[in-house]
Amino acid sequence: MVPWLLIAQVNYLWYAVPLIIAVSLVYAATRHEEIVPILMHAGRLALWITGFMAAIFIVLFLISWRL
């Protein structure tokens, strides 16, 4: 049952993608003035946010295992 529930939830995770991109770009743009450093900073930040979300996902997945 759990894998099916996960697949159903994955579609909704796509809604996070525009948010991650916009947040990364805007935050990076407040730290730099030139476009190349902004894009590099935004890329690193997007990876960091995605990794953080993945870590939270794994923790929640493990503590809800076989519930």
């Binding site: 948010l19 916009a22 805007v26 743009a29 730099h32 003035e33 030139e34 902004i38």
Partner: protein, 197 residues
């Protein structure tokens, strides 16, 4: 009054022109403050990012077949419905201001404009009298039952758009936030020597 700020990149000076005017413009329309400062790339970046999130959030909170548009952005400070999200959403500027007009019209028993775009929902526990000009407006229950989770998604998108524009306003006012200056080794050695003495 023109002010200069030092950019992150070494030796880069930014002409902020009048920072207060730039900040007000940046609030009114995302990126407009940067356009005023002739920082064209950042103006485009802020406009595209903030407006895309805001407009997409409005679209998520719409039910076209019912004629309900942009229902996730509304102002309400009624006893039964205090909309704190609007505090974040209004950061996006002009695009969130119709909500104030609509709330004022509804509070004064006048018909809302534009089919209720950004109008607050009608409260369900208040029986709508026959002469109520807004008795066809949806209640919060109607919105949630039609939009389901998209009501929350649209709310989050528009609220984050408003919050991001506050960062952009700060950037228009003060320039890019500088990282803490790194001390070089000589300075650190000198500090340690001073400490020992």
């Amino acid at each position: 009054m023109s002010e200069q700020a030092t950019g992150h990149e070494p030796g880069k000076q930014i002409d902020l022109r009048d920072p207060v005017v730039a900040a007000v413009l940046a609030w009114l329309v995302p990126g407009l403050g940067h356009l005023y400062q002739r920082r064209f790339a950042k103006a485009a970046l802020f406009f595209v990012c903030v407006m895309t999130l805001f407009v997409y959030g409005l679209a998520l909170g719409s039910v076209p077949e019912k004629g309900w548009y942009g229902r996730v952005v509304y102002f309400s400070w009624r006893q039964e419905d205090k909309r704190l999200f609007y505090v974040c959403q209004v950061g996006a500027g002009l695009v969130a201001l119709p909500a104030l007009v609509q709330a004022h019209r509804m509070a004064n028993d006048r018909r809302v404009w534009f089919s209720g775009f950004q109008a607050p929902p009608r409260l369900p526990n208040v029986p709508a009298p026959r002469e109520d000009p807004n008795r066809d407006q949806p209640t919060p229950h109607d919105l949630h039952s039609r939009l389901h989770r998209y009501f929350e998604l649209g709310t989050v998108y528009t609220a984050i758009a408003g919050l991001l524009n506050i960062l952009a306003i700060y950037d228009a006012w003060g320039g890019p936030v500088l990282p803490a200056p790194k001390k070089n080794d000589d300075d650190e050695d000198a500090d340690e020597t001073d400490g020992e003495n």
